[in-house]
């Protein structure tokens, strides 16, 4: 156990180092001068030198990086370049709960919808219903979100024109604003989860202990609930990590198109304004989120199936 955590710890540190180092280097090797951008129309050498010193840009690159990491460890992400005076931490703290909320809800919805669908398909393997569901899952999985969003908008518009109550197309504020973004994020995930659940259940249904249970004379329902489900749903836990990574990328598109003030949109805007501290901060946070989810999913997997070895 201890060996597992030590190795994981080292690998996590390495991942964080890679994230910060690469982002830092890319940001600082970039053409253009963020201080000039920040100063705007007021261009005088004094303010320039002062701002440069304030942001620590007058020091050698490596020193800057080391300082950055030292502060990072203490939770200080630095000042934003483009949002005058505000700290990166503040901005992230603003957007993170929103993104987590939407993403978490999407994950929940996709599980609630996807798992039963997958089970349904597996139990009716080979029938029209099964094949229809597989095709639907594949379709949902293949459609990129920026294709799905106009489709949903059209549907929403049609509902609106027909006179029925409809959902807001974009924006943030009321509970009804969450519905469409969550739907879009969940859609692709549902496709994936349905396929995975179905495949997993099909495998389990062929296993010996299921035949034994049936031979014992148990009701089909009991067989499913007590034996099949537990083992078939296990692979879903390994999904946590990659799903988070997917939701993170999906969040960019969804937040930009739906105009949601989450961390994805903040990152995108920062990229547009060359606001490197914000870019670095969001990259690090998102990277940490993915790493933590991977860790949790590995641990959970071990909890549910002790046969799985933890050490890689």
């Amino acid at each position: 156990m201890l060996r597992f955590f030590t190795r994981r710890g080292i690998s996590m540190v390495f991942v964080l180092f890679s994230l910060t180092f690469l982002t830092f280097m890319i940001g600082h090797l970039a053409p253009g001068d963020p201080i000039l951008v920040l100063m705007g129309p007021r261009q005088d050498t004094e303010t320039y030198a002062h701002l440069r010193h304030l942001y620590g840009l007058d020091q050698p690159l490596l020193t800057q990086y080391i300082n950055y990491v030292a502060l990072l460890v203490r939770g200080d992400f630095g000042l934003s370049f483009s949002y005058e005076g505000r700290t990166v931490r503040e901005l992230i703290a603003q957007g993170l709960p929103i993104s987590f909320g939407v993403g978490g809800l999407a994950l929940l919805v996709s599980l609630i919808v996807g798992v039963p669908l997958g089970m349904f398909a597996a139990l009716r393997d080979g029938t029209l219903a099964d094949r229809g569901l597989v095709a639907l899952a594949l379709g949902l999985y293949s459609i990129p979100s920026f294709v799905l969003i106009p489709l949903i908008w059209m549907a929403n518009l049609a509902i609106f024109r027909a006179g029925y109550p409809n959902l807001p197309q974009a924006g943030w504020g009321t509970p009804s604003h969450i519905v469409l973004p969550v739907l879009v994020l969940a859609a692709a995930n549902v496709g994936y989860i349905t396929q995975l659940t179905r495949a997993s259940m099909l495998e389990v249904l062929r296993d010996d202990y299921v035949r034994t249970a049936r031979a014992k004379g148990l009701l089909e329902r009991t067989v499913i609930v007590r034996h099949v489900l537990r083992n078939a749903l296990l692979p879903l836990i390994t999904l946590l990590g990659p799903t988070t990574a997917f939701l993170v990328t999906g969040a960019f598109v969804v937040e930009v198109l739906f105009n949601i003030p989450g961390i994805g949109r903040i990152a995108v805007e920062a990229v547009g304004r060359r606001d490197y501290p914000v870019i670095q901060g969001t990259t690090v946070i998102l990277g940490i989120a993915v790493v933590i989810m991977n860790l949790i999913s590995d641990l959970l997997y071990h909890v549910f199936d002790p046969r799985i070895q933890l050490t890689e």
Binding site: L19, L22, A30, P31, V147, I149, F246, F252, V271, G272
Partner: protein, 305 residues
Amino acid sequence: MAQQILNLETIENTVRDERHAPGFFRRLARSRTALVSLTFIIAIMLAALIGPLIYGVDPTHTDFTSINAPPSLAHPFGTDRLGHDTLARLFAALRVSLLVAAVVETINILVGAPLGLLAGYFGGGIDILISRLADMFFAFPGLLLAILVAAVFGQAVTEQYGSTARLVLVAGSLSLVGWPLMARYVRGQVLSLRERDFVLAARAIGQSQRGILQRHILPNVAGLVITAATLDVVNAIVGEATLSLLGLGIQAPATSIGKMIVEATPFLAQNPFLVFVPSITLTLLVLAFSFLGDGMRRAFDPTGR
């Protein structure tokens, strides 16, 4: 068996049989969806190459008599808000998107495959070095790194070197996040190949390292590389479209499928056709490459699912 003379010829013959090529196309042909997908992809590529010549309409020509028009005889797919013919733009967009995907996969293969090969075959320090390098890029969730690179260097590259350079930059940034996966696949395959009998036999008769790599390992890895690249095309096309969504992809006046969708979305209510034509094309392309890649994967592993 005991009478067999072990000479170079016999061993070479044994080794040659290990290559997948002969049975591969037959197995691929068994999957109908893969064949349909392959036909579709070839058709699309031909359309992109020859289409503009046959159709003859200039995508940048503005027809002021029909703005945001639905399909008609003059404009089979309608027009956009500036009066450009959608079908003509679609041809141009297909060219760009497919070109970007091709460049991305080429870079992925040229960078990822050799690195994976070296890491898998030589192991030890080289393996650790290459694997850590790949992990560094892998650490970035999704397209984050691509977005970063495209955003940071995009403007300067376009200003200094022109739009072709921009295309290469976009492709390059997408392959930055793609090559570690390719390297990982290749490394895994090489690791398992390394211990196979025909490799041990080749070593036993004294073949050079380079010879083994070239004549035994490489051909058997080729199949995996092509399959992985085909499956990755989907990521390349969607990735480029996402970059266009954020304004970081191909710049005007050039257009790509993703860019067409993104530009058309604000006009959804007025001209739904403008959104759906590229959207359907994109979805079909994604499905086609997915099915093809899946078919290839199954053709390479006859024992698989």
